[in-house]
Amino acid sequence: MSIPVLKFDAVIVGAGGAGLRSAIQLSEAGLKTAVLSKVFPTRSHTVAAQGGVAASLGNSEEDHWTWHMYDTVKGSDWLGDQDAIEFMCKKANEVVVELEHYGMPFDRTDDGKIYQRPFGGHMSNFGEKPVRRSCAAADRTGHAMLHAMYQRNVKANTQFFVEWMALDLIRDEEGHVLGVTAMEMETGQIVIFHARATIFATGGAGRIFYSSTNAFINTGDGLGMAARAGIPLEDMEFWQFHPTGVAGAGVLITEGVRGEGGILRNSSKERFMERYAPNAKDLASRDVVSRAMATEIKEGRGCGVNKDYVLLDITHLDPATIMKRLPGIHEIGLQFAGVDCLKEPLPVVPTCHYQMGGIPTHYSGRVVMPKGGDMSSIVPGFYAGGECACASVHGANRLGTNSLLDLLVFGKSAGDSAVEDLKAGRAHRELPKDVADKTLARISALDNRKGGANVHETRLAMQRTMQDHAGVFRFGDMLKQGVEKILEVEKAARNLEIKDKSMAWNTARTEALEMENLIEVAKATMISAEARKESRGAHVRDDAPDTAEFPNGRNDKEWLKHTLFSPVDNSITYKPVNMQPLTVEAVALKTRSY
């Protein structure tokens, strides 16, 4: 079968913040650049980021990139690579000012500078006191950022392939990456994008969990493609959760609800936080509240048919106060829980929000993997940035507003590295003879299989398994069972059947292909989480508690290392954390406390 081949200097998969930022570097360098996206670029999930972007501009008060670096290392619970963190924090001012020049409408101070607001975890002078470091455009920072960068790309003649889904990474026998196979959704046609540089900017995979704040589009397509091409996934056990998402929907309920007097209750209507945090009760820190909720659910005191959520009760509050102080919460209850929160409690559950791990990269944006004795050998022709990549700057937990910074800095550096490599002479390499065989076999299997598994049911089984067994608070026995269960779900995910066989706009096929990506991420997460026998950052285990020997359950002697999950044989290797920054002294290990 003859498959059309489109030749570009660079192909970028994903048109969110990281993809658009990479594309600017490549197109403005005069390189022929294609960007593939499942949706129109400004419909990417970057739009949902409201908080801001961190940069130590010092516009409101004194700030310094080394202080930002300290906060990031501490946030990461020392699992972040300090060379990459230095690189990112040092670059922050530059990428924010560039964005301003692209037309980003940042909020301003009276004297016209970029206004900076405080944000949790942002401190001055190495953790001394809060500092205003977050740059925002009202509560639509991600949205404004995407628009500014999309316009810049239009000006630079970036070629967009909108409503195209990349399917598989093309690697030759020597391991070089030569592009991707992709499907045009309007026609169902499969096309080869043959490129000198391939950049993944496909975002996170939060949809592996039953309760997730992530939009439906976050199906980990880049991670799935990398895994199928034999590239390991790094630190996949680390996922950031919010304590209160609407059960079954994932829509966030602001923590302000508890601040205004909201009470968490279990199936007996008990105010269970009194047992876990007798003083702070429902106002305890996010980690403590999430763990308490997970424990109540695990011990059978959850609510509903599946006993899989708890209740957030504000019925005792004055309705006028709720409508005034918590605008939107009433509507969220009605729309997503079918509950009038003035009269009934809201069903809530800890909800997945952000993926810290991903495709292993150097801070230059080049993808790296073990080869021979080298744990970080460059995969030629392959680059990644943003949530799908693991540089690693977030380590075991991400500092607030560093996600938008990550996609700007590493989107740009991936683009810069690709430009550098192409200018140094990297040519189009010959496509392997079987270049699209695996992709065509997957499509053909989906189209022809009879008696296979249902996509919706398989996705639900995966999401429930991940939520129950690898949620915000983890239990050794549950993780062990979780590994067995997810491997069972994997069998179903490799045996999907779709009823609709049409070519044009076959969303059933697209969703099945997304499912094949999700399962790679789910499996990597479960197996990596089971294997890490300590608590660190967002990975918190019941059997690795806070002790004098291991404060917060963290065990640096054995576990100060990155997980590398190999999708080839479900095995795990580890590589050291880079504790050596580029130019400054290392941030020394200490207990993480706020």
Binding site: K38, V39, T42, R43, S44, H45, T46, V47, A48, R140, H143, E163, M185, E186, S212, T213, N214, A215, F216, I217, A249, G250, V251, G328, E331, Q335, F336, S502, A504, W505, N506, T507, T510
Partner: protein, 81 residues
Amino acid sequence: MERADYERLRWRCIRRALLELDITLTRFLDGGEFEKLTDEERLAFVELADMEDYDLWDLLTGKAEIDDPRLAHMVALIRKS
């Protein structure tokens, strides 16, 4: 509406930037509400679906209002679904 046109519209509703819209619009379409619409109402739905995510979400949550009675009617129908 032709199958392909409907499926294109469906894709543009079930893969939004905001989770809130994913859920709301998927529920409307997959709940069979779209099939009950008149041709004119369907056009209004397509127009709404083409909007930027925050603009549409502000309409659906009552934070913003729209003058066009066709679109306002459709917003009310989606909110009820």
